[in-house]
C-alpha cells in the first residue's frame, strides 16, 4: 500500500514521518523510538498507550497516525523538564511506590496529567473516573491514587504554568 507523509508536533518538536494508512499512532511512535508509549491490548481496553493529542487524552492504539496530521502529540517523554528533571507527576509516582512493573505507568502519568490540567485539585471520584480506562495488574491502584493526590499538591507549589507542557 502507498505510504503517506504525516507531519505533527511531537513533544514540542515538528516531525515528518512516512506511514501506511493502517499504521496506528501507537506503532508509529514506537517505531521512531518513543517507547514510553506501551503496546498493551491494542484494542482500547488497557490505557497503557495513552498520549495527549492537542491536550486531550487519547488511546494511541485507537488512532491512525494520519489522523494526527497538523496536531500536537505529547507523551511521557515530553513531560520531562529541559534540564532532565522529572515532572512532578512522574516524581510523585516514584515517591508513592505507584510503580511496580511499570508497564501501565506512562499511560497512567499521561491520564493524570490531562486530569490535573482540567481539574488541579481533583476529588477521589474524579481521579477514579479519569483513570478508569487505565489498567494496572500490579499495584492495586491505591498507591496510584495517592501519587495523583501528591502530584496535585506538588504542582500547586510550582510557579504558574511551570508544570504545563
Amino acid at each position: 500500500m502507498t505510504k503517506h507523509i504525516v507531519r505533527f508536533i511531537l513533544n514540542g518538536r515538528a516531525v515528518k514521518i512516512e506511514v501506511e494508512p493502517r499504521t496506528t499512532l501507537l506503532r508509529t511512535l514506537r517505531e521512531i523510538g518513543v517507547i514510553s508509549v506501551k503496546r498493551g491490548c491494542e484494542e482500547g481496553e488497557c490505557g497503557t498507550c495513552t498520549v495527549l493529542v492537542d491536550n486531550s487524552p487519547q488511546k494511541s492504539c485507537m488512532i491512525l497516525a494520519m489522523e494526527v496530521e497538523g496536531r500536537s502529540v505529547t507523551t511521557s517523554e515530553g513531560l520531562i523538564f529541559p534540564d532532565g528533571e522529572l515532572h512532578p507527576i512522574q516524581q510523585a509516582f516514584i515517591d508513592e511506590g505507584a510503580i511496580q512493573c511499570g508497564y501501565c505507568t506512562p499511560g497512567m502519568v499521561m491520564a493524570t496529567y490531562a486530569l490535573l490540567m482540567r481539574s488541579p485539585d481533583p476529588t477521589e471520584e474524579e481521579v477514579r473516573n479519569a483513570l478508569a480506562g487505565n489498567l494496572c495488574r500490579c499495584t492495586g491502584y491505591v498507591s496510584i491514587f495517592r501519587a495523583v493526590k501528591k502530584a496535585s499538591a506538588m504542582m500547586k507549589k510550582l510557579p504558574q504554568g511551570a508544570g504545563d507542557r
Binding site: 500500500m1 502507498t2 503517506h4 501506511e20 494508512p21 493502517r22 496506528t24 491494542e42 484494542e43 482500547g44 481496553e45 490505557g47 495513552t50 486531550s56 487524552p57 487519547q58 488511546k59 492504539c61 485507537m62 488512532i63 491512525l64 494520519m66 489522523e67 496530521e69 491520564a111 473516573n129 479519569a130 478508569a132 480506562g133 487505565n134
Partner: protein, 290 residues
Amino acid sequence: MLAFELERPKTLEAALGILADNPGKAVPKSGGTDLIIWMKKRTIHPKILVDLALIKDLSNITISENGRLSVGTNVTLNRLEDYLDEREVLPALIDACRSHSDFTLRNKATMVGNVTAAVPSGDMIPALCCYDAEVETASLEGTRHISVLDFILGPKKNALDPGEIATRINIPLPEVAGTGCYLKSTRRSALDLAQASVACVMLCRTGVTEYRLSCGAVSPIPVRVFEAEKMLRGKSNLTPSLIEHSAELAVEAVNPITDVRSSREYRLQMIRELTKRALALCQKRIQEVA
C-alpha cells in the same frame, strides 16, 4: 490490520462522491473506535476508509429556534456530555454518555457512530429512543430523516443505503419539566458493554405526567416499552405496585439472547430490576428538582 487507503475529505459533497464512486469498497468513519477493532479482527476489510473528521459542518452541536438539538457525527461523547450538562438538558443521555467505555475513549467515540454501529448493547440507543431522536442522513440523492427506533434493523444492520451516511442525530428537546436516567448492568464499572440496560424519561405536562421506557442489549432491535408507558400515563405518584407492574411489562417486551456477557435468564432478571430502579430514580430526581 489489512491494508487500506484513507481519505480525509473536507466537505460532505466530497465524502459522498468518494462513497458513490467506490460502491462496496468505501466505508465511512467517525471516531473509528468500532471500526479499528473490526478491521483488526478482520470482520470487515474496506479498501477505502472515508474519515469524516475534517468535515466542519458535521462537527458541531446546535439548538434550533424550535428547540431541536442537533449533533453532528464528529461530536465526541465527552463534548456532548459537557454540552448537555452545562445546559441541564436530556439527563438520560448524559447518564448514557457517562456509562460508555471510559473517559479517555469518550474523547474519540461518537454518538452517531454508536447508532450507525447498530450493536444491540450500544449505550446511546435506549436514551435516544426515549427522546424520540432521529438520524439525519445524506447521499447524492438527498437527505432523509429516520427515527432511531426504525434506523436499527438488527445486530450491525442499519437503514442506510449504499453511499448514504448519517450526518447528524436530531433530538426534540422536551418543552416541559422532567427528568430521566440510564442504568446499565455490567461485569465491571468501566470499559464494559451492557448485559442489560434501561433508559427512563419522565415528562411533567400540566396535569399529566408521561413516561418513556426503553431497554438495551436485550433485543436485536431497539425496544420502547409502550405498554408500560400507557399504563403509567398520568400517574405522578409511582406506587410500588405500579413499579412492579411496569417491570413485568418491560420483561414481556424484550427477547434477550445468551452470550459471553450473560445468560438470557440473567438479562430478564436485570431488566426487571433495572426498570424498577430507573422508575424509582426518576421519582427521586424529580423531587430533587421540584
